[in-house]
Structure formats: structure tokens, C-alpha cells
């Protein structure tokens, strides 16, 4: 019998090892798997490379993971936002590495990695500083930059509903990077606000097919990062 449900976030992240490459879903707070990230902080794996669009807010979630010095390198498109304080400070001190990737290129690198495509050409960043050092090739009279597919050891994602096969659906713009990250990791771990029986999610509306997901943990009422920021909370509590 296939049953990808695990009993707790701690159990879900227990195999994450030092030096792992981890994709973390979310666009800002929306879709960020905060309980899984906090479990990873408790677990303590370090020297991580994290692929995520942003670098977290305040002192919770991804920002707390960085603040706990578990992250060696960030691969992201927008490392500073209004509420991002931890990453900028470490970056200015030279204590964390950054690979800056245009947002669409980041999404496509992840998609390609998950789809078995090692590299591809994109018009994005041609003629800009982010093109430097990359192969450029002309197709039909236009220049394109070669970018590599990205894969990860683990992906941590957040969704609205899951079943024991790992089929997932998301909530509104909290979908963002989560589905492509599910495809690109050797082990994908999803936190779901609700776990339902197989068949309860109409096959026509499944967004992430269960084949891309390896572990599911039910987190019925995920924390609101927004609320935690308002309360000035820090993790570990």
C-alpha cells in the first residue's frame, strides 16, 4: 500500500543532511512551508544551499533558518524585500553566498531540472550583467543565454490539500514555485492544510500529480508569517 503521510513535520524532515540542496516554495509568505522550515531548524542540518524566490521576512520561517546559520548559499531572484532583515545583514558581512537568478529563469531552471532537461536557452538577461560568463547563442537572429536545469536533494512545499498518494492542490497565489519544485527534488516533502482520502480530489483538478511527492504531513492551521511579524516573534520561540 502506498501511504506517503507522515505523522509530524519533525519526522518529515529527519533525513535532511548537512550540505543538502533544498528548494523551498513560496513567493514571500504565500506558499512558504513555515512549519517544515521550523522543523528543519529544530533538526539542525547545516551548510545548506537553499533555492527560494526570496530570503524570508522578519525572524521566522526562511529568515530564521538563515539566522540560525544553517544556510551557506541562497539561489533566488529577489533577496531583499521590505521585511527582509536577516539576509541583507549576513550578505553585507560576506557571511552568506548569493546566486542571483531572474525570476522566470529560476522557475524554468527548476522546471527543466524536474523534467530531465540539463540546460536551455532563454532571451532573459541578454545584454545585462547577469549574462556574464554564460554561453550565448543565436537562434533566428536573436541572442539567447544558456542556463542550467536545477535539481535538489529535497523540496519543502506548502499546499491546501493532499491525499496519501501525494496528489496536491494549492490555494490561490500560494501555488507559485511549489509545483515545479515538487518535480525537481529527489525527496519532496509537502505540508498540507488538509489530508483527504484518495478520490476526494477530483483528478481533473489535481495540480501536482502524486508521483512528484514523497512525504505529506498534515498541518491543519499553518502559522501566518504576517501575524508573527506583527507580534515580532522569533523562531526558535
Amino acid at each position: 500500500m502506498i501511504n506517503k503521510i507522515v505523522p509530524s513535520a519533525a519526522e518529515a524532515v529527519k533525513d535532511i543532511f548537512d550540505g543538502a540542496v533544498i528548494m523551498i516554495g513560496g513567493f514571500g509568505e504565500a506558499g512558504s512551508p513555515i512549519e517544515l522550515i521550523h522543523a528543519l531548524i529544530d533538526h539542525g542540518a547545516k551548510d545548506l544551499t537553499v533555492v527560494s524566490n526570496n530570503t524570508g521576512n522578519g525572524h521566522v520561517g526562511l529568515a530564521a533558518l538563515i539566522e540560525n546559520r544553517q544556510v551557506r548559499k541562497m539561489i533566488c531572484s529577489f533577496p531583499r524585500t521590505a521585511q527582509s532583515v536577516v539576509f541583507p545583514e549576513l550578505y553585507k558581512k560576506g557571511e552568506i553566498e548569493l546566486e542571483l537568478v531572474p525570476q522566470g529563469t529560476l522557475a524554468e531552471r527548476i522546471r527543466a531540472g524536474g523534467a530531465g532537461i540539463p540546460a536551455f536557452y532563454t532571451p532573459t538577461s541578454v545584454g545585462t550583467p547577469l549574462q556574464e560568463g554564460k554561453e550565448v547563442r543565436e537562434f533566428n537572429g536573436r541572442l539567447y543565454v544558456m542556463e542550467y536545469g536545477l535539481r535538489a536533494d529535497f523540496a519543502l512545499v506548502k499546499c491546501k490539500m493532499a491525499d496519501r498518494y501525494g496528489n496536491l492542490i494549492y490555494n490561490k497565489t500560494a501555488r507559485n514555485f511549489n509545483p515545479v519544485m515538487c518535480m525537481a527534488a529527489r525527496t519532496t516533502i509537502a505540508q498540507a492544510s488538509r489530508v483527504v482520502e484518495p478520490g476526494d480530489i477530483d483528478p481533473e483538478i489535481v495540480v501536482t500529480p502524486g508521483i512528484f511527492v514523497h512525504k505529506v504531513v498534515e498541518i491543519p492551521n499553518p502559522l501566518s508569517e504576517n501575524q508573527l511579524l506583527k507580534e515580532n516573534r522569533r523562531y526558535p520561540w
Binding site: 522557475a107 545584454g127 490561490k172 497565489t173
Partner: protein
């Protein structure tokens, strides 16, 4: 220092852009000033707004108390979704962008060159934390790129220049520039002024523009 009229308000500039967008267009709005365009769409014109974090059919801001942390725009501000909207993941969202499916994007600018080069993501200051987001994908893939901006910086420096000194977002990508003083088309022959705000003369406009203008 040139004594310039104030020109159009931000809302008036946004209104001009809204009037120039054709009915039925799919449009991506950048963060900040471009967001004003959404509020200026004339009655009877249907425009579908795209936000790169995965929504086609962005609606007006929610009423206070109705905000949803999981329904936001690219600037991470709460939005609503219109009836008939749809959600999708990031790779699909940027397939719409790079694949030329989005018709127009409206962006802010640090500098625009006379050739339509755009610099809007980094001032290249040493020690500054670089952040690019989706700007480079938008200018590489969207066929019509409009810039909305003040004509000069807060200190009066021209933003429309011969060559951008800031790092580029993309070369030769801007089609039209809307400022508080004028609407300027980027053409193969250079910058063509289409319209000027009340009280602005060609001489005044040229004085605050660091690239030759055609009138």
C-alpha cells in the same frame, strides 16, 4: 536649474497609459507607479491584468479586513481575483511572459536610453544587495514595454539618457515612455515626442532630457 511646470500627476500619466491600452489586452503591471494604471481603465474596456506570481485577472485591492495572505501581487500586496480569473504556477506564468503571450508590460525606470535600453533593477552601488525579480524576463518577452516615470530624478538629473550608466535590465526593449512632462516614443530614428504636458515647451523638455528629442 530650469523652471519647469509640474506637468501631469501620477494618476494623469497612468490614465494616458490606460487610454492607450487596447481593449482585450493582457497586461503586466510592475511594482509602484505602474500599479496606478489598473485604477484608470475606462468603462467598457476589458483589460486582463497578469501578476507573475501566478494570477491572470487581478482585481481591485480588497476592502479592509478582507485581505488574504495567499492572494497577493508581485509586490506582495493583497489583491482580489476577478470572476473568470485563474491561478497557475511560476513556470507557466513566465511561459506567458517569455513566450510573448502577455501583450503589454508597464514598468518603472531608473534610466531609459535613446535606443530603448532600460535600467530599473540596480543602481550598481558597491555593497548594495542585487535583486532582479521578474523584470528581465518581462522586458525580454513582452512585445510592448511602456515605462512610467518622473521625467527626472528627485535631484533633477535626467532619467532619459544617451546611454544608461546603471546596469541594464534589457537592451532595446522600451517602446514608449510616459513621464509627468511628456509621452515619448522610442523609434529607430530616436526619441519622438508624441505629447507634452501643459506649459512644457520643446526647449524646456530637451533641457531636462539627456538625449536628443524629435518633435
Amino acid at each position: 536649474m530650469v523652471n519647469l511646470p509640474k506637468g501631469w500627476s501620477n494618476e494623469e500619466i497612468a490614465h494616458k497609459i490606460a487610454e492607450d491600452l487596447p481593449d482585450g489586452a493582457y497586461v503586466n503591471l510592475g511594482i509602484g507607479l505602474p500599479e496606478l494604471v489598473a485604477g484608470q481603465i475606462p468603462e467598457g474596456k476589458e483589460i486582463i491584468f497578469h501578476t507573475e506570481n501566478g494570477l491572470l485577472g487581478v482585481g481591485p485591492p480588497p476592502a479592509p479586513g478582507e485581505e488574504d495572505d495567499e492572494l497577493i501581487n508581485a509586490g506582495k500586496k493583497p489583491v482580489t481575483a476577478i470572476p473568470g480569473s485563474c491561478f497557475f504556477h511560476h513556470a507557466d506564468s513566465f511561459a506567458m511572459v517569455r513566450g510573448g503571450h502577455i501583450d503589454y508590460c508597464i514598468l518603472g525606470a531608473f534610466q531609459v536610453s535613446e535606443k530603448g535600453d532600460l535600467a530599473n533593477w540596480s543602481t550598481g552601488e558597491p555593497g548594495a544587495i542585487p535583486a532582479v525579480g521578474g523584470a528581465m524576463d518581462l522586458v525580454a518577452g513582452v512585445p510592448h514595454v511602456f515605462v512610467i516615470s518622473s521625467h527626472t530624478t528627485k535631484t533633477g538629473e535626467p532619467k532619459i539618457v544617451k546611454e544608461c550608466t546603471y546596469p541594464l535590465t534589457g537592451p532595446r526593449c522600451v517602446n514608449r515612455i510616459y513621464t509627468n512632462l511628456a509621452v515619448i516614443e522610442v523609434t529607430d530614428k530616436g526619441l519622438q515626442v508624441r505629447e507634452m504636458a501643459a506649459g512644457v515647451t520643446p526647449e524646456l523638455l530637451q533641457e531636462v532630457t539627456a538625449a536628443p528629442l524629435c518633435f
